[in-house]
């Protein structure tokens, strides 16, 4: 997501924010929960971009991850399960001047809210969407989610889950008007920050799947990836992620990938091993629905009066000699 240059400048000169300006309350997530790192990354992102807290809205659905807005000292909307996206769309349509982030879980977005996910991509409104994908239902205490790997033992699948996991990236990359798709993992904070920053700067719907640890219900599940850097495939490109020396040294499994290449992006998204991390796809030219619909246009009482009068004229029976 971007904003007008003038406002950027204004904010840069007017306001300098500290991390503390974005902090609110004490997160209640479990120790080691990946949501903690996502939260602090978002707070850093807000500070580094000097987002005015009163002009920033975090919208979420229901789930552990959807608690995130409560810990941001900005405006927030903790909605109903699955409906974060349509709520956020309404916010953005009414107020395109606001910066809107969405936090949603794998159940929230890919199961109960699946219809909204597909259509949000099509609307391509200027929203930054964080899919906190822990591959399980956390809040309701361990049921299989659409991204739980086949065979996942959970409270509703004690013998192991029956179905192949859904791949949120390939589905997302198949929807008309998709304009930004990336993948991050919560345990590489530097890249998480860079990817979310790129997502925030993109104008249009930025969809970031964040592979998120849930030590409570998927203990140790991501350890093999955390322990072996070669099981992560870093996507780099001059117009995508550029890597710091430290990252480049640790994560040697790298791939030069041009984010404008959607076919290659789809191929990369289909390979889940090693986990691709970086920007898979970006197209800056997809129109935003709020622009197409002229959201935020100034409206006057005079306009309404004239519009109403013109319409009433179509239905009016004038008595002879009446004033028109």
């Amino acid at each position: 997501m971007t904003m007008e240059v003038t406002r950027c400048l204004l904010q840069a000169s007017d306001e300098r924010h500290e991390l503390g300006d974005y902090e609110q309350g004490v997160p209640r997530w479990c120790n080691g929960c990946g949501d903690n790192g996502i939260l602090t990354t978002m707070q850093r992102l807000c500070r580094d971009n000097d987002l005015a807290p009163e002009r920033t809205v975090f919208v979420s659905g229901i789930g552990c991850s959807s608690r995130l807005p409560h810990y941001m000292h900005t405006y927030g909307f903790h909605g109903t399960h699955g409906r974060a996206l349509p709520i956020a769309e309404g916010v953005k349509m009414a107020r395109p001047d606001l910066t809107v982030f969405v936090s949603t879980g794998d159940g929230d977005c890919l199961s109960i809210g699946a219809a909204h996910w597909i259509h949000a991509l099509r609307y391509n409104m200027d929203l930054t969407v964080l899919l906190h994908d822990n591959r399980i239902y956390g809040l309701t205490k361990k049921q299989a989610s659409p991204t739980s790997p086949l065979g996942t033992k959970s409270n509703t699948t004690p013998q192991g889950s029956y179905l192949e996991a859904l791949n949120p990236l390939t589905v997302t990359l198949g929807v008309a008007n998709v304009s930004f798709v990336a993948q991050a993992v919560d345990w590489i904070p530097e890249l998480l920050y860079d990817i979310l920053t790129a997502a925030y700067r993109h104008r249009g719907l930025s969809f970031v799947r964040i592979v998120q640890r849930c030590p409570e219900f998927m203990p140790g599940f991501f350890d093999p990836w955390m322990q072996d850097p070669r099981r992560t495939l870093i996507l780099r490109h001059a117009s995508g992620l550029t890597l710091s020396p430290a990252i480049a040294k640790t994560y040697t499994n790298q791939l030069e990938h041009d984010p404008s290449d959607i076919h290659r992006a789809r191929e990369i998204a289909s390979d889940e091993e090693p986990i691709p991390v970086g920007i898979l796809y970006r197209d800056d030219d997809v129109p935003c629905y709020e622009d197409v619909r002229h959201a935020g246009a100034v409206r006057t009482a005079e306009q309404v009066r004239r519009g109403l009068a013109a319409e009433l004229d179509r239905f009016t029976i004038w008595p002879d000699g009446a004033e028109r």
Partner: protein, 620 residues
């Protein structure tokens, strides 16, 4: 020249296969009569399917037009005159008992000599049957006459018929010509000229060939009037209310309101968003309301059911929202195109938990317009969900009403972006009214997260018993606070008597017409019609107690103890309003209902009232 017989009122129907223009003919007739100063109510006759087979009983499409010397408030009972383009659609109306015994029928006669022998014999058979039933059937060579003027008579017949009807009802031909020009306003002059010729031909044909002619005395209005249907009035009301965003998902019979709004809203800076489903439409409207001015979502029963969770969220987080439910027959997919008042309890109590919301039912076309302005204001003042109930019969019915005069007070104030005073909390409920000032994104110092979870005054999630009851209490108090400002609706008729009929919604005109008639005959019956159903204005209990009996009239299902012996006092299911009145006022309220998918008629109310008056005690 034949003498025109003067009538107080008359009901005429024009029916055809769909696509033959009977609806346009009926609407034009209504407009011409209204311009002449007649009272008018038009009702659309809609086939249940988009493309019913031609010449089918279920395919009748058209309009009923009730013309009166006085203001007309409903579609009336049975038709006095019917113009039918074929005998099968006519048969549909006869079987539905929509024709008065002995009614006059003007029937297209070309089918008698149709090349298809099956068609010809079906026609002849039906003709004989109708004559046998005592109808006065006149065969009219509509297509043959039109052929003299146009190559394809199927496309011009409706204006020929319009001309005939103008002749029959002694309407001014010049007014009719003007109306044709308006009707075809978007087409070129040639089209208008052709249709005017057809109109004139029909007028002349009726003058020369029919042995009857009517005149309904008219009083020309001195103030400008508008003629439109209920859904158009709803849409214009939304435009006039200052709401700027409408999120919807298509559903009959609500969609036409959104269609019309889509056509006009952008011109005044408004947006109609067609969402992916009703859940999204509701959530979108809530998001828009939360961040700016009150938004609206329009739907019908099945869509309303899907919105229920969102409505609970708006109630809990105290986000203003206007929801329009244009009711149709239910449950489930029910009767998509037909009227019923079956959603009241779902709207009042439908979402889980205690979610107080305001419910207002419109009772006429003009009401559809002003209700939207009131709904927006209440939603905003009280940070509440306001549900406006209409139904399929009001959706398409047309009636003239005084042209609204715009006032800037109708509009919402600009979105508040001023800093929030230090120390103010997002839910600083007023102790006596529950009211609270909402903080809107963009207001410095107001940052907080709204939530559907139980919360304290800071909007922090709070599960403790005090916080929970604190929230419930203040959200509930708002209804009491609103209730104190509402005026009790007037009693129609005397303030006391043997029977009070209570109704809500679209049945108002029919109920009052029946009551007026019976009062003229000396019956001690009055009527009370509710607009606000939640909260109910003060004073209703006192009114109920001044009558020997109270009975609601509603278009929905309720048990019928007299017909079903298994129903008794212990298990009888009352209609929605009767149940509400019984529980609130501890008055023995009876109910009469029908769920026939059509508007309640004065005739059926009349017999219901006579039945209730005759019954000794209210059967329980």
């Amino acid at each position: 020249m034949k003498e025109a017989v003067t009538l107080g009122e008359h009901i005429v129907e024009i029916v055809s296969d769909s696509g033959e223009g009977a609806q346009r003919c009926g609407q034009s007739l209504g407009a011409i009569a209204a311009k002449s100063g007649n009272g008018v109510w038009t009702v659309e006759i809609i086939p249940a399917e988009i493309q019913p087979p031609a010449r089918s009983i279920a395919g009748a499409s058209g309009n009923r037009v009730r013309l009166g010397a006085r203001r007309v408030t409903n579609g009336g009972d049975q038709a006095d005159l019917v113009v039918a383009f074929n005998e099968q659609v006519l048969l549909g109306r006869v079987q539905a008992e929509e024709l008065r015994p002995g009614a006059t029928i003007l029937l297209e006669g070309r089918w008698r000599n149709d090349r298809d022998p099956l068609v010809a014999s079906a026609y002849a058979e039906t003709y004989d049957e109708l004559v046998g039933l005592g109808y006065r059937v006149l065969e009219i060579p509509m297509e043959r006459e039109c052929l003299k003027l146009v190559p394809d008579p199927r496309r011009g017949k409706n204006m020929f018929v319009l001309g005939m009807l103008c002749g029959i009802y002694s309407l001014d031909l010049e007014l009719a010509r003007e109306q044709v020009a308006i009707t075809f306003g978007k087409k070129d002059a040639k089209v208008i000229a052709t249709n005017v010729k057809l109109l004139e031909a029909g007028f002349a044909w009726a003058e020369e060939n029919l042995d009857f002619k009517y005149r309904i005395p008219a009083v020309r209005a001195t103030e400008p009037q508008v003629v439109m249907n209920g859904n158009t009035a709803l849409a214009l009301g939304i435009l006039a209310s200052g709401m700027e965003i409408c999120a919807m998902y298509p559903i009959t019979p609500a969609t036409s309101a959104s269609h019309y709004l889509s056509e006009v809203f952008e011109r005044v800076g408004g947006i109609v968003h067609q969402a992916e489903d009703e859940i999204a439409a509701c959530a979108f409207a809530i998001g828009a309301s939360y961040a700016g001015k009150v938004a609206v979502t329009i739907t019908s029963g099945p869509g309303y059911s899907l919105k229920q969770e969102g409505i609970g969220l708006a109630a809990m987080a105290e986000i203003p929202l206007v929801v329009v439910d244009v009711q149709r027959g239910g449950p489930s997919t029910g009767l998509p195109t037909k009227a019923e008042q079956g959603d009241l309890l779902a709207v009042l109590f439908g979402t889980h938990g205690d979610a107080p919301k305001v419910v207002y039912a419109v009772s006429g076309i003009e009401d559809c317009f002003y209700a939207m302005i009131t709904a927006r204001k209440i939603a905003e003042t009280f940070n509440m969900v306001v549900v406006v109930l209409s139904d399929a019969s009001l959706a398409t019915a047309q009636q003239p009403f005084p042209r609204p005069v715009f006032s800037e007070d109708w509009l919402a104030a600009p979105v508040d972006q001023t800093p929030v005073p230090p120390g103010a909390r997002p839910y600083d409920w007023d102790a006596s009214t529950g009211l609270v000032r909402r903080f809107i994104p963009g207001q410095p110092g107001g940052m907080h997260t709204v939530t559907g979870l139980a919360h304290d005054r800071e909007s922090h999630v709070a599960y403790d018993p005090q916080s929970n009851e604190d929230g419930l209490r203040h959200r509930s108090l708002k209804l009491a606070a609103l209730q104190k400002t509402l005026r009790c609706p007037p009693v129609f008729g005397a303030a006391e008597g043997d029977l009070l009929v209570v109704g809500w919604g679209s049945s108002k005109g029919a109920i009052e017409e029946a009551v007026e008639g019976l009062r003229a005959e000396g019956h001690r019956v009055s009527a009370l019609h509710l607009g606000f159903i939640q909260p109910m204005p003060s004073g209703i209990g006192d009114i109920l107690r001044r009558f020997g009996k109270v009975m609601t009239v509603e278009s929905s299902w309720a048990d019928r103890p007299a017909e079903d012996p298994i129903v008794d006092a212990d298990n009888r299911r009352y209609s929605a309003l009767a149940m509400l009145l019984r529980s609130r006022y501890l008055v023995d309220v009876d109910c009469w209902t029908e769920a026939r998918g059509r508007p309640i008629t004065p005739g059926s109310v009349r017999s219901a009232i006579l039945g209730a008056l005759a019954r000794e005690a209210v059967p329980a």
